[in-house]
Subunit: 423 residues, 2 copies
Amino acid sequence: MWERGLVLSAPGKAILHGEHAVVHGKVALAVALDLRTFLRLRPCAEGRVCVRLPGVGVLRSWDIPSLQALRSGFAGKRWEEERAAPVGSRPCPVTQWDPRAADFDESKPPSVEQLDTLREFAGIAAEASAPESLATLAFLYMCLAISAKYGDVPSVDILVWSELPTGAGLGSSAAYAVCLAAALLSACRAISCPLKEGESTARWTEEELTLINSWAFQGERVIHGNPSGVDNAVGTWGGALRYQSGKITPLKRVPMLRILLTNTKVPRSTKVLVAGVKEKILKFPAIMNPVLDSIDAISQECQSVLEVMSANSSPEHYPVLEELFDINQHHLNVIGVGHPSLDRLCRVTASHGLHSKLTGAGGGGCGITLLRPDTSALAMEAAKRDLCACGFECWETSIGAPGVTLHSSSSLKAEVLHVFAES
Amino acid sequence: MWERGLVLSAPGKAILHGEHAVVHGKVALAVALDLRTFLRLRPCAEGRVCVRLPGVGVLRSWDIPSLQALRSGFAGKRWEEERAAPVGSRPCPVTQWDPRAADFDESKPPSVEQLDTLREFAGIAAEASAPESLATLAFLYMCLAISAKYGDVPSVDILVWSELPTGAGLGSSAAYAVCLAAALLSACRAISCPLKEGESTARWTEEELTLINSWAFQGERVIHGNPSGVDNAVGTWGGALRYQSGKITPLKRVPMLRILLTNTKVPRSTKVLVAGVKEKILKFPAIMNPVLDSIDAISQECQSVLEVMSANSSPEHYPVLEELFDINQHHLNVIGVGHPSLDRLCRVTASHGLHSKLTGAGGGGCGITLLRPDTSALAMEAAKRDLCACGFECWETSIGAPGVTLHSSSSLKAEVLHVFAES
């Protein structure tokens, strides 16, 4: 099927509640954003694999024999390293060389040696962390690993374009990794092509989604080192999921809710913010721990409301969701991850009767504003105008969006068709 | 001693932490404000008792025989009622008539009948709740009750003037009741006059303060019906006290701290706000109860810091007190007692590097802003100017002020001397 080409997409993610508290064992709710990354896979005849990400300026291609040589080089190199190294200095268990197992497996994290070799192959500096470098590295790793397991990736041309900004905590790297995993697994026939003639969209079976997710997680590991796996799970399954102490549970049913997503464009370091929260908890444990408990209860209350809404949505649910936003925004300020730009965002939207909270790491970054079904286009445009006047960037979108999806070309929206036609 | 006249004063109060949470069994910290109510007691020769409160427009006087007749009338009236009433319909225990006990006692709340009789005597309408009516009623009650227990109040002229606004939750009625209790008990010689020649101020013994406090509480009961007793305790002992589940514990040592007290002048109903908090707790118990626990921990942390500061004040304590203000202000918003005017107050002071929270009932009313010892007069004047530009009223004062105090006339500040000279 894929030989005629295919187009698929995966959603970004936002944290609805529980950011930071999740680090301390509390429940977080992550939701799929209807800002999506689109991937077009097309066969190409020249015995090459080509990847293009016009949004981040990537245009790379490799001939298949050199990728094959690279892959087989790994095994030889690892054998030599294994024999040369004294027993005591052998690599740590995570990257330990086992000649009986595959070099690449979706259950094993990419090894430092593998990534070093791929960087060298692609001409990427050791410490390069720009999106284009990491996107290229993730592509190469996934391409080699999937072909090692399921047979050579055939000659393909892959084009990726995203509605998501990078580095804004909206899961753009995970949406990319999910798209790549689905495309490469499809190209290797490890998963089916569920799109039937005449259908505009289709999704994979639960089993296939689990495989896509596990390979997308490998891509995320290449990009982020030690990701939680939440972002790729949201990109794969869509909707909303509950995350606690490493356990990810997709919610059975979730309503699609309109939101405004605003990027304050204030840069921040998630690592510094997480450390600040930890410091506050150590400084005032009796004051801060109850706040984390309250955030945990907010996530759980929100989950209940979303589940009820998906069964039977009623206008009375919106004030509750709004109140939970307001309360959590205060709590996030209490634990020290607020920012004047986020206060401003909340104030501006409040002046239009809308309720907002930061989403993700805080300290700047993005805010999420709930829209009611009856929020008028006029009110929303006015809010967007005022937010843009603050220097912020706004997207009107939805949460609870579907996960990784196959699209028929005819069903794509004009903007995506335009990008694909131009590239 | 008092025959030469005496001047005494009592402080107002502010809640530092724990407002609203205290209703749900948590710790509150109340502090004495150095905004004071002053009372001048002077003998007058005409066999009259005169009370003047130029600030609220009270100028009343009664001849002593009519007060005596009123007092003895109570006993007669109660006897008649007692004989006329069928046994089953006798008054409830609190107001039960016991011919062997005094009609007035500081341990018994004023009865409805007593207050009705006093209202009739003073020409005050049954439902009158204006400060001047309640102040007159409290004076009459305390005057009769104290003279019933300790002998006739002699011919005196009482002048009261206050730096405290009424109805702003700053304990103005308690400061008045404490001053009245101290003055009337002094006039009846139930307490000593501890001011020695050459001293500028003096305070009473612990035992005398306990007596003053219990009579001030009676005055508060006349004014408020069912007060907590915190305000009169702060007015009597000054400094700071901890209040939890009806138990009042003065802190042993408290530093005097500079503050800015701001009245937003937004009117609010404490009853409605308290009911709103209760409703929120019932609606979201798992979210709200931890917030009350966190507020409790804030009060306790603040108490520790104040105790350490009073022993060994250091600049490093101020950021902690400021952080506790910020956190509690968020919590008070979460439990629903914030107000846009209070948000504005906090924002304005924050723009001058100062930290504020609401104090008392919230929903408008007053905010308290901590000043550091090194907050420059310039910065503070700028903050005051910006707050006044919002239509707010500001006082630069201190917390941790002394409780009820006797003053030598020569030690009074000019403003008080001026008021006393004019009246």
